[in-house]
């Protein structure tokens, strides 16, 4: 049997009729109880299971997922990874994530197509240049790479942008060269396979319908496949966080919104990195298949429908046209929507809850994909040791009541921040 992916194993299987490959993960029936039950088999839940097993030796773990593994936001995002944050509570966390991305494929023995092709944020005014210079300095002070480019340098990289746009001339950009893209489905599959190999049970088509609390302590979950007992219950339910938390009587500082993403027909190599428009909200990269992958704002109203509306598509495409008019004749191939757990300050929550034994990982807004490794790493640390990981120490649930928000945008309590 071949269970490790390598050049040699591919060669061996090529000469033996490809008969030795094992299923990538088992499909176990749920046991009566576990030490830890993770609610949500997306990127964050699977990463949490992997790091619980690998870093803390806790393998009596089940991940319960209402659909199939990776059916939610981990396969619905625009695959961008970066750690270009400004505030103290965020920078170390996202940089931990970036470092984990850099070693991910070796760690998981899985090709996730981690591609550090660079993330370039364009600026269009003197004030915006100063803000980006400040952000770049904050990054460099925290050991993150950042470089401020002038217009000539950006022009050399991307000669086809609309530099002389009358309203939003491109003056330059802030680039993080270590940022880039990662094949998003492969992240879910890689974490799932690695967790499964260490003994974690991945239980699909198993929807949590209740959280059982006795004497102020979570003791398990009711599911469509029966009761599953647990010493610790960990929620990683993304857009459905409010619904799951409500099963334990909690109200969260979160609204669920829909974010759309788009991919065009495949075209020849055109954009080699990730580019974002600073005067609107538009970000774009090109997949290895040639499709332009892009997105913009959330639709802007509460939604549990995994689909959006047309005015937002128009708005996103207008942003794209203002930035690079030459994409105007490229045809849209597909677009889709995902549910974002929009927190009230635009930053996530990794914390215990007022219910003993119940842990919360939520509020990722639409920045959850890049955080997947660090989210799992820090959540596993919290669950195993009952204390926050130092790099996620600011991402607390009670920060809202205490007034210690991590408000990257600086605009106060709104569920529409990044």
């Amino acid at each position: 049997m071949t269970d490790r992916y390598s050049f040699l194993s591919i060669l061996k299987e090529a000469f033996s009729g490809q008969k030795g490959w094992e299923p990538v993960w088992r499909e176990p029936a749920p046991k009566r109880d576990y030490e830890v039950v993770i609610v949500g088999g997306g990127g964050h839940g699977l990463a949490t299971a992997h790091y619980l097993a690998k870093e803390h030796g806790i393998t009596d773990v089940a991940v319960v997922e209402k659909g199939y593994l990776g059916s939610g936001n981990v396969g619905r995002n625009t695959t961008i990874v970066r750690s270009n944050y400004l505030l103290d509570g965020n920078i170390p966390f996202y940089e931990l994530s970036m470092k984990l991305w850099e070693g991910l494929e070796q760690d998981l023995n899985y090709n996730a197509m981690v591609s550090q092709r660079g993330v370039l944020n364009l600026f269009h005014s003197d004030a915006q240049r100063d803000a980006y210079a400040r952000r770049g300095n904050a990054m460099r002070l925290n050991g993150v790479d950042a470089e401020l480019l002038d217009q000539a340098a950006v022009k050399k990289m991307l000669p086809f942008l609309d530099y002389d746009n009358a309203r939003f001339p491109i003056q330059g950009g802030l680039i993080q060269r270590r940022g880039g893209t990662v094949r998003h489905d492969a992240v879910a599959w890689g974490y799932a396979r690695a967790a499964d190999r260490r003994g974690v049970d991945l239980i699909q088509n198993c929807e949590v319908t209740g959280i059982t609390v006795e004497g102020g302590r979570a003791i398990g979950v009711e599911t469509t496949r029966g009761f599953i007992g647990a010493k610790k219950v960990a929620l990683a339910a993304a857009g459905n966080s409010s619904r799951v938390a409500a099963m334990a009587g909690l109200r969260l500082p979160i609204e669920s919104h829909v974010l759309q993403a788009f991919v065009s027909e495949g075209i020849k190599p055109f954009i080699d990195g990730v580019v974002t428009f600073g005067a609107g909200h538009f970000y774009i990269s090109q997949s290895d298949k040639g499709g332009l992958v892009f997105g913009g704002d959330i639709d802007g109203y509460n939604s549990y429908a995994q689909r959006g509306n047309l005015p937002t598509i128009e708005d996103v495409c207008e942003g794209g046209m203002a930035l690079m008019p030459r994409i105007g004749r490229v045809r849209l191939l597909r677009h889709w929507g995902g549910l974002m757990d929009m927190s009230m300050d635009g930053s996530p929550i990794i914390d215990r809850t007022p219910v003993d034994g119940l842990y919360l990982n939520a509020g990722w807004c639409y920045g959850g994909f890049k955080a997947t490794p660090a989210s799992g790493f820090c959540f596993a640390h919290l669950i195993a040791r009952d204390e926050p990981h130092p790099d996620a120490a600011a991402l607390r649930l009670d920060r809202f009541a205490r007034g210690t928000l991590i408000d990257e945008k600086g605009v106060g309590a709104q569920p529409n921040l990044h």
């Binding site: 459905n240 409010s242 509460n302 939604s303 429908a305 005015p311 009230m344 009541a401 309590a413 569920p415």
Partner: protein, 94 residues
């Protein structure tokens, strides 16, 4: 998604600005537990999957604030009334 405005008729939602949950009521600032209640009011949300009463402002139309009842799973709108009417009713109920 189209919203039936009581004064303008059915219009595309891009004409409207969204404020969110219409059930939130500003707490009494002189209450002894005002601080905790304000934290709830500003940050915590029911965020239901299903019927939600929410505030929309007809910015590119009649400039009325509306309370729209919409299913957040399907975007189906089951009721629209002027926010003023809803506020007066709440006031009368005390």
């Amino acid at each position: 998604m189209r919203i039936p405005c009581p004064s303008c008729g059915e219009r595309g939602h891009e004409e409207f600005a969204y404020l969110g949950d219409a059930s939130l009521v500003r707490p009494d600032p002189t209450a002894p537990d005002a601080e905790a209640r304000f934290a709830d009011y500003v940050y915590l949300r029911d965020n239901p999957a299903g019927a939600l009463r929410e505030l929309w402002y007809h910015a590119a139309g009649c400039h009325a604030w509306l309370v729209v009842t919409r299913d957040t799973r399907t975007h189906e709108i089951s009721g629209v009334e002027p926010a003023k009417a809803a506020a007066l009713r709440r006031q009368e109920a005390g």
